[in-house]
Symmetry: C2
Subunit: 137 residues, 2 copies
DNA sequence: CCTAATCGGAGCGATTCGTTCCGATTAGGC
DNA sequence: GCCTAATCGGAACGAATCGCTCCGATTAGG
């Protein structure tokens, strides 16, 4: 019920990237300096975020990355899924057959409902909202 | 973003306990047999759940435990908090001062809002709903 | 008073997570 | 056209948490 540190840092890093909203490319070192996160960790984060399609990255000298979509079109659910994989409370919701009590688990049919509720809550928070200084009422 | 196996099992165990709704005491071994969970694990679960006040346990020969409240008055949030502690996406939401980037973390003011949304989603699911065979629309 | 059964807490092993380092790739300068 | 420098991408190591199991404390029943 607590998201991993990597996902936590990813949100912070994405917020920092969003503050470069003018379309100017930034790089991992700059994000690390602005956020105070360890530089290698930021590198790993942008790598994962790039694979997920949230960041467009350019390699080589003078390269860097920028948001692939407007900040308003990126939600917390997108960022969390990019780092942690599908949002699911239980393993049985995504994988099949690896649960020993699958046969007798009467709670299983109810998990999709819970997952939808959680995911819906995260989809309502956009990166644009997080980029604001003040918290919305 | 994925709850621990212990919390997952706790939900299954609590559901099994709720099926003994007639007020009859059950014991850890019985729950283990019904759910297929390892008996020692069930013992640890009921211990934690008893401390949290969700189960009333009676020790000694012929002892056991039963729900401390009606199933409709126990929510997923209660069970998860009993096993995993306070529901919080980030550590900075509960603890203070242990975050290295606390000063520069602009995302921090927004986390309470997220936490409330998640917790609200879990509070809407009661143990009585989980005890039903069919999933509610 | 003794025995048996159950809850409660402590210890160990395994898996995952987080961090760090090194290689592959590409733009810029000579 | 070639070389250099800078950046992303993936792989390996160490640490911490989590999950499982065993043993002791407590209490009802005989």
């Amino acid at each position: 019920m607590r998201l991993s540190s990597m996902a936590d840092y990813a949100v912070v890093a994405m917020r920092a990237a969003a503050l470069h909203c003018g379309g100017t490319r930034t790089n991992a070192a700059e994000i690390a300096a602005e956020t105070g996160l360890p530089a290698p960790t930021v590198q790993k984060l942008v790598s994962r975020l790039g694979q997920a399609g949230l960041l467009n990255s350019v390699r080589g000298s003078g390269g860097g990355f920028r948001l692939a979509r407007p900040a308003a079109a990126i939600t917390l659910a997108d960022i969390v899924e990019a780092i942690e994989g599908p949002i699911a409370m239980t393993t049985c919701a995504t994988d099949t057959g690896d649960c020993a009590i699958e046969g007798t688990c009467g709670a299983r049919p109810h998990w999709p409902q819970v997952n939808r509720a959680i995911r819906g809550a995260l989809e309502q928070i956009t990166l644009a909202q997080l980029a604001q200084e003040e918290v919305a009422a």
